[in-house]
C-alpha cells in the first residue's frame, strides 16, 4: 500500500513558554491512499495543530522541532514557499470547521473557486466559470448556477460547507483534511455533508483525514482511528476493533462517558475525573496517568511505548484486555 501521508516523530512547541511546552509530542501517523482516517481527541489534544502542520499552516507561535511529514513521499518541512504553494490544494487541502470565517466574505462563491483554479493553472479565465459549476454540482449544491453568483452570507451553514468542500476539491487533492467539518452544523445537515465526503472519496479516490471529537462520526465514517491525548497518539487501529474493544483506558473512558442507548436513565454516566493536561505540564510518565483508573507507580514514571498484540496499537502499561 502507498501512504499519501506519513508523519514520524513529530514534535511541535509553543514558542515563548518553557522549553517543554509541546503541543504535539512524538506523533506518528500514516494515511494510505483512499483511506478515511479519523483523528479523535478533546479540545487541546493537538489534533488541529497536527492538521495545520501537514500544510505548514501552524500559527507563528508554534514551531516544529523534530520529525518528518511526508506528503506524497516528499517532506513538507524541506519545501520552499513556492513548492509548498503548489502542494497545498493539489496534494492536500483543508476543510475547516467554520465555513463562515474561512471563506472570503467579499467574494462570490464563483470567484473564490475560480481563483483557486487560475492560480494552480487548472483553468483559464474562459473555462473557469464552467469548471466552477461542475465543482458545485459535484458537491451537490442545489441550484448551482444561482448559488455561484452569491456571497457566503447568502448561504446556509450546510451550503457554505458544500462551497468550502468544492473549493478544497478544485485541484483534485489526493488527501482531504477535514477539521471538524460538521461540528457547527445541525445533525440532519451533518449527515448530508458526511455522506457527501464518503461519496467523493469513492468517486475521486482521495484519502480523508477526519479530525473530530465525535465518536459517533468516527464510527460512521472511518476506516482507521487514531486517538490523541496531550499531543500524542495513545491508541490507533481499525475502527471496529478500536471502538468495540478499546485497549487504552482513555479510549475506554471516552466511550463509556457517552450516554448509552438502552441504559437506565437513573444510572450515572461514567466520568473521566479531572482535566486534560496543559501543554508542557507532563514531564514524565504517561500523560493520562493522573486521570486513569488503572494507573500505578510505573505509569507516573515511565511513558509507555507503542505496542500491539492484536489489531490495535496502544501506549499503555495496563491496557484493557483484548476480547
Amino acid at each position: 500500500m502507498n501512504a499519501i501521508l506519513d508523519i514520524k516523530g513529530l514534535r511541535a512547541c509553543l514558542r515563548g513558554r518553557s522549553e517543554n511546552a509541546y503541543v504535539i509530542d512524538g506523533l506518528d501517523l500514516t494515511v494510505q491512499e483512499g483511506e478515511v482516517v479519523a483523528l479523535v481527541g478533546e479540545s487541546g489534544s493537538g489534533k488541529s495543530m497536527t492538521a495545520f502542520s501537514i500544510l505548514q499552516l501552524l500559527p507563528p507561535a508554534i514551531h516544529i522541532t523534530d520529525g518528518t511529514i511526508l506528503l506524497g513521499g516528499h517532506d513538507v518541512m524541506k519545501m520552499d514557499v513556492r513548492t509548498l504553494r503548489q502542494v497545498r490544494g493539489t496534494q492536500a487541502s483543508i476543510v475547516f470547521q467554520e465555513p463562515m470565517t474561512s471563506l472570503n466574505p467579499l467574494m462570490t462563491v464563483e470567484r473564490q473557486i475560480a481563483e483557486m483554479l487560475l492560480i494552480h493553472g487548472k483553468a483559464t479565465r474562459r473555462t473557469a466559470p464552467g469548471k466552477v459549476i461542475e465543482l458545485l454540482e459535484l458537491v451537490r449544491m442545489p441550484d448551482a448556477k444561482r448559488r455561484a453568483k452569491q456571497y457566503p452570507h447568502n448561504l446556509s451553514g450546510g451550503l457554505r460547507q458544500r462551497a468550502m468542500i468544492a473549493l478544497a476539491l478544485a485541484c483534485e487533492p489526493r488527501l482531504l483534511i477535514a477539521d471538524e467539518p460538521t461540528t457547527a452544523l445541525d445533525v440532519t445537515i451533518q449527515q448530508q455533508i458526511l455522506k457527501l465526503l464518503l461519496d467523493l472519496r469513492d468517486r475521486l479516490g482521495m484519502a480523508i483525514l477526519l479530525i473530530t471529537h465525535d465518536l459517533g462520526v468516527v464510527a460512521e465514517m472511518a476506516d482507521r482511528v487514531a486517538v490523541m491525548y496531550a499531543g500524542r497518539i495513545v491508541e490507533h487501529g481499525p475502527v471496529v476493533e478500536l471502538l468495540e474493544a478499546p485497549r487504552h483506558p482513555y479510549t475506554h473512558g471516552l466511550l463509556s462517558c457517552l450516554p448509552a442507548e438502552h441504559a437506565d436513565p437513573d444510572e450515572r454516566l461514567t466520568e473521566i475525573p479531572g482535566l486534560p493536561p496543559q501543554p508542557g505540564s507532563i514531564r514524565q510518565g504517561c500523560p493520562f496517568a493522573p486521570r486513569c483508573p488503572r494507573s500505578d507507580a510505573i505509569c507516573t514514571e515511565v511513558e509507555p511505548a507503542m505496542t500491539s498484540d492484536g489489531a490495535s496499537h496502544y501506549k499503555c502499561h495496563h491496557p484493557w484486555t483484548a476480547p
Partner: protein, 327 residues
C-alpha cells in the same frame, strides 16, 4: 393537574428583523411538573431557545400565557414579576460569555442574593461556600476570576449561580454543548444529583438527542417554531411518531462501528425560509412521507398514544409506522 409547576398556553413570538418578520415561536403549549426534566429538542433556529428565554422572563411573548404556580407571568408588571423571577433561573450554553470576566466567582454566585435582597454579607458568604461545595468547586477558589477556570468548571459556576436562589425551575439552554465529552458526563451527573437533592425542575434545551435520552422525563420536539411531538420518555423512545423526530433520531451519529453512514437514509431537501408565509406542514419539503394534504393543511397536534401527541396527518393511520421503517 395539581402538580403542574409551569403551564404555557399558545405562546407566540415574532421578531422584526431587517429581512422581515420572523415568527420564532408559534402556538407552543406545554406544561412542566415539579421536579421533572422537560426537554425541548430541535435544530438551530427552531425557536427552542426563545421558548427558554420567554420562560425565564427575559423575552416578552406577543401572545399566550405562562402560568407559574398559578400566577400568570405575562399579566404582571415588572415590579410584580420580580419576586417570581427567583423561582425561575437559567443556565447558558457558553460558559465563556455568560460569566462577568471582571467579577470574582464569589461575586458572580452571590449576585442573585444581592439583587433579591437576601441575607447579610456573612450569610451570603456562607451560602456561596456551601453552593460551591455542592457543585464540586473548592470554596477556596471564590476569590478567583472566571478566566482561571476550565469550561467545565465555569459551567459549574453558572449552575451554582442559578441554584443559589433555590428556584423551582431552571432553564438549561444547551448546558453541555460547549464541553468535551469527558467533562459533559461530569456536568450531566451533577445536574441529576442536584435535581434529586433539591427537587428542581429543568426545562432542558438541547439539540443532542443522546443527552436528552439520558436526562429527560418528557420530550418535546420543535421544528420551525412549532411543537411537532410531545411525549413521556418511554413512549417517545418506543414510538417516535413524527417523521421529523424519527429523522433526528436516525441522523444522530451512533458510536457503533457496525452502523455505517453508507447504509443510513439521509434527509434530503431544504428547509423552508422562516420569513416566508407558509401553507401546510413545514416539514413537508424534507419529509419522505409527504402527500397532497401536507401542502394544504398544517396538521395540529393529535394524540397517538396516552399523553403522546404528534402534529402529522399520518398519525392515525395504523400502517404509517411500517411505511416509515421501509422509507
Amino acid at each position: 393537574m395539581t402538580d403542574d409547576l409551569l403551564v404555557i398556553r399558545d405562546l407566540r413570538k415574532t421578531f422584526s428583523t431587517p429581512s422581515g418578520a420572523l415568527t420564532a415561536v408559534s402556538q407552543v403549549s406545554l406544561s412542566i411538573k415539579r421536579g421533572e426534566t422537560y426537554a425541548l429538542a430541535g435544530e438551530s433556529g427552531c425557536g427552542k431557545s426563545t421558548v427558554g428565554k420567554i420562560v425565564a422572563a427575559l423575552v416578552k411573548p406577543d401572545a399566550g400565557s405562562i402560568t407559574l404556580d398559578g400566577n400568570d407571568l405575562t399579566a404582571l408588571s415588572p415590579r410584580q414579576l420580580r419576586p417570581l423571577r427567583r423561582k425561575v433561573q437559567m443556565i447558558f450554553q457558553d460558559p465563556f460569555s455568560s460569566l462577568n470576566p471582571r467579577a470574582t466567582v464569589r461575586r458572580i454566585i452571590e449576585e442573585p442574593l444581592i439583587v433579591h435582597g437576601l441575607g447579610n454579607r456573612g450569610e451570603r458568604r456562607r451560602k456561596v461556600a456551601e453552593m460551591m461545595d455542592r457543585v464540586g468547586l473548592r470554596p477556596e477558589a471564590a476569590d478567583r476570576f472566571p478566566h482561571e477556570f476550565s469550561g467545565g468548571q465555569r459551567q459549574r459556576i453558572g449552575i451554582a449561580r442559578a441554584l443559589i436562589l433555590n428556584p423551582d425551575l431552571v432553564v438549561c439552554d444547551e448546558p453541555v454543548s460547549a464541553l468535551d465529552v469527558s467533562v459533559q458526563a461530569q456536568i450531566l451527573n451533577l445536574l441529576k444529583d442536584l435535581q434529586r437533592e433539591l427537587g428542581t425542575a429543568y426545562l432542558f434545551i438541547s439539540h443532542d438527542l443522546s443527552v436528552i435520552r439520558h436526562m429527560a422525563d418528557r420530550i418535546a420536539v420543535m421544528h420551525l417554531g412549532q411543537l411537532v411531538e410531545t411525549a413521556p420518555r418511554a413512549s417517545f423512545w418506543a414510538n417516535p411518531t413524527h417523521p421529523y423526530s424519527r429523522a433526528l433520531i436516525a441522523a444522530r451519529p451512533d458510536p457503533n462501528p457496525r452502523n455505517r453512514l453508507q447504509d443510513k437514509p439521509v434527509l434530503e431537501g431544504e428547509l423552508p425560509s422562516p420569513f416566508e408565509k407558509r401553507k401546510g406542514c413545514d416539514f413537508r419539503s424534507r419529509c419522505p412521507l409527504a402527500f397532497g394534504l401536507c401542502a394544504e393543511v398544517d396538521p395540529p397536534l393529535r394524540p397517538s398514544a396516552p399523553d403522546h401527541y404528534a402534529a402529522c396527518h399520518l398519525v392515525d393511520e395504523p400502517d404509517s409506522r411500517n411505511h416509515t421503517a421501509a422509507a
